[in-house]
């Protein structure tokens, strides 16, 4: 645990990427593999299945420190991180001068994981005895593991770079080995950094290649004949694997969703073994995609009854062929991968190929793009025909050319402080539109302002607060913001009756007065355009 605390401190105490990679590499080199595996587990953003409720942790802390509820709420609002609040408050307790030390893997296997089997009294006894015996920075880490994610401000790219350095392997290989589900163990970590390839890897997808938003005019991309143009489907990006008799469907979030889509799994079984497709999971009927809302309804269901399956039938639209006959094709040019894909899918009508959109010029294409909303797609994907299948978001070969978002002018009504790094700033906002003579909240939005604007708005919020409800402030209804969003749906759960999809702040309209904001009626008109 001490070694992890040292690593955490080193990562936390530098803003330099190289220094972070170096610290990670040193840790992976020096730590016993069983500990390194667990550290990696947390560093890549994975968390333990809930061991106990945070409410219990808060209660125990209050008992130990005699902090009343209101004061706990007060300090939580000023720190914004529960694990940190608890470690700071517990610092008021007496500690032994020479704390005990237990390796990370033993912490997990002998202490934390068995917690789940205990009742609350026994859990309390255990956790409190650890709290009393550990230095503050380790209490903080322990709390982080108990409460969920241990975010340390390193991206998985940095972790992969460090591992690649330690293993002497190319970074994409390491990234590949880290895909999917794995168990943090000595064997896993040793295999991860070993030059040998193992059998256990057959369930693993390839790292996804992601397109960048097109911000320049499409003409700047050169000759249209060098490009493959496809619709940008509004579904779940995924990889469909058929290897060694097993089928795996992975979402871009590296979640295994095979069981959620039996019709896709069934279709994939007909593919030759050693095949990996990149594509999109869509609600799909009569050779046409359905709105994302239909797919969402299905994702939300616990049980896949025949009725649910009939209501939102799903299909996997294939974009790309990453592996054929067990051979990694990613280095081949897209033109060739695409030819092989088309030839392969000719025999599998249940796995449609994402069609190429034909156009004679960029201008003609721009015209076609205006039909996107009616087709339930988000715009175009532009892929250079000579491009290999890269890893992550690399600019240059793959672009998404989205249709313009919906916009609404709304009034800031409530503000809430952010978390972690932004815990002392009001960064989360609730916006309202007019409903007759009332302002009715319609959406929250978090992102879109610059740091400078956030700071300016924070000062304005503090100076124009009407009421405080715990950490939330209601403010004078004066500031108008232009919000962008991708879609709108009916929602009985919202007071306004509508829910916006991907709302974000486009501009702070200091030129507008609150009376210039939009009305609920005008938003509802968009419902038709969006359905």
């Amino acid at each position: 645990m001490r070694r992890l605390a040292d690593l955490y401190e080193r990562l936390d105490q530098t803003t330099s990427t190289n220094a972070k990679v170096e610290a990670l590499a040193r840790y992976f080199q020096e730590a016993p593999p069983e500990d390194a595996a667990w550290a990696l587990y947390f560093l890549t953003g994975q968390k333990l299945k809930r061991l106990l409720t945070t409410k219990l942790l808060v209660g125990w802390t209050q008992e130990l420190t005699h902090i009343p509820d209101w004061l706990f709420a007060e300090v939580y609002a000023s720190v914004g991180d529960l694990a940190e609040v608890i470690s700071l408050l517990l610092d008021n307790l007496e500690r032994p001068s020479a704390p005990e030390e237990l390796p990370l893997s033993q912490w997990l296997t002998q202490r934390l994981l068995p917690l789940r089997e205990l009742d609350a009294t026994a859990q309390r006894e255990q956790v409190v005895s650890w709290w009393r015996a550990m230095p503050r920075r380790e209490v903080f880490l322990l709390n982080k593991m108990l409460t969920g994610e241990l975010r340390v401000g390193v991206s998985s790219t940095l972790v992969v770079r460090a591992l690649a350095k330690v293993a002497g392997l190319p970074a994409p290989d390491v990234a590949h080995r880290l895909m999917g589900t794995w168990t943090p163990s000595k064997e896993f970590f040793q295999q991860l950094v070993s030059p040998e390839v193992s059998d256990a890897e057959h369930s693993r997808p390839y790292p996804f290649y992601l397109a960048s938003p097109l911000e320049q005019p499409p003409e700047s991309l050169g000759d249209l004949s060098e490009w493959l143009v496809e619709w940008k489907w509004d579904g779940i990006r995924g990889q469909l694997l058929h290897r060694k008799g097993d089928v795996y469907l992975w979402s871009r979030g590296e979640e295994l969703i095979t069981d959620r889509f039996p019709e896709i799994t069934e279709a994939a079984k007909a593919l030759p073994e050693g095949t990996v497709l990149d594509g999109e999971v869509l609600a799909y009927e009569d050779c046409k995609p359905l709105p994302f809302a239909r797919l969402q309804r299905r994702i939300g269901r616990q049980k896949l009854t025949p009725r649910v399956l009939a209501e939102a039938p799903a299909a996997f639209i294939a974009y790309d062929l990453l592996e054929q006959d067990g051979q990694d094709l990613r280095a081949l040019p897209l033109r060739e991968r695409r030819e092989r894909l088309a030839a392969l899918l000719k025999h599998h009508p249940t796995l449609p190929l994402s069609p190429a959109v034909e156009a004679s010029s960029w201008e003609a294409l721009a015209h076609t793009r205006s039909e996107a909303r009616e087709r339930n797609v988000e715009g175009f994907m532009l892929k250079r025909l000579s491009s290999p299948y890269l890893t992550g978001r690399k600019r240059g070969d793959w672009w998404k050319w989205k249709i313009d978002p919906f916009t609404v002018d709304a009034v800031l009504l409530y503000a809430h402080p952010g978390h972690g790094r932004r815990s002392s700033l009001y960064t989360d906002y609730t916006f309202a539109v007019w409903n007759g003579t009332d302002l009715l909240p319609v959406t929250k939005a978090y992102s879109g302002l610059t740091d400078e604007e956030i700071g300016r708005l924070d000062r304005w919020i503090r100076a124009h607060t009407r009421e405080k409800f715990g950490p939330v402030r209601s403010v004078e209804p004066e500031q108008v913001f232009e919000l962008h969003f991708e879609g709108i749906q009916k929602s009985p759960r919202h007071k306004s009756g509508v829910a916006l999809r991907f709302p974000r702040i486009a501009r702070w309209r200091t030129d507008k007065k609150p009376q210039d904001a939009d009305s609920l009626d005008s938003l509802k008109e968009l419902l038709h355009a969006s359905a």
Binding site: T14, E74, S78, V79, L89, G420, R421, S424
Partner: protein
Amino acid sequence: MDASVSFQARRPLITVTPHGLYCEPGGFHIDPWRPVERALITHAHGDHARTGHQRYLGTRAGEALLRRRVGADSHIDALEYGEPLKLNDVTVSFHPAGHVLGSAQLRIEHRGEVWVISGDYKRAADPTCAPFEVVRCHTFITEATFGLPIFRWDDTREVAEDILRWWDANRAAGRAAVLFCYALGKAQRILAELARLTDRTAFVHGAVQGLVEVYRDAGVKMIPTQLVSEVAKGTSFAGALVLAPPSAGGSTWMRRFGEAETGFASGWMRVRGNRRRRGFDRGFVLSDHADWSELLRTVADTGAERVLTTHGSAEPLARYLREQGVDASPLATQFEGEAED
């Protein structure tokens, strides 16, 4: 919460007026924020010692700093710590607050009733100023900058050792280590604490150097200092420790240091998010204000029947004290305590 609720029927000795804290029977203001005739000053920080008053009264130990702050031509009278002075039928005296050089609490006695205004204070030892002295009183006006139980200061020597280790690590890596801190008080305290550990020279910003000289004149032992601006153009700052006020961060002044790590010495660095939001590499938790336990201890030590809390977490501290059975309420002032930047 209305501050007047906890006052007893008799007129309070000190009230808050638009000009600041006012003692009517004594005919003077304490650390007023608008120009007045007679200002009693607890210490020379900007939110307590403002310019434009007709007559100032402060401590002998803090006189030079006060003069620097409010102008050489100002009319300033000074008292030794503990030296009583009669103003009308009120007796006043200054007592060490342990905050910065010359800082004081103000004791005010009127017909047997004693009030103490803490100014800013801390209980931890500080080689640059006289230690806090407990003064018994009926009413205690205490600062509450860090009046939340998450604030707890580590031993200052450990913090100084941390700073030195950070300096050494940057020296080894050929980088400058730029440490932001208040120019008055914090900078000198760091230089004095480092003097126990090293005799290397530190570089300082112009805003720091003048104040360092005042401290040296007062006999405070610190490591040698050199003005950044006196270094020949093009000289490398690799391996140097540089002390600068937070306002210098992000300015063009910073460019000369080339590759550098930045740190900030402040009580606010106790909370990780405060440091990360500001983008400092390192945060050193070092404050010239009392932490939570020191605030509670001091309130108890004074034996005060009534406690008024000002700046920072005045409301939570007062509420907590009330729940512990102390007659406490917040008092609205314009003091800032330790600003977050």
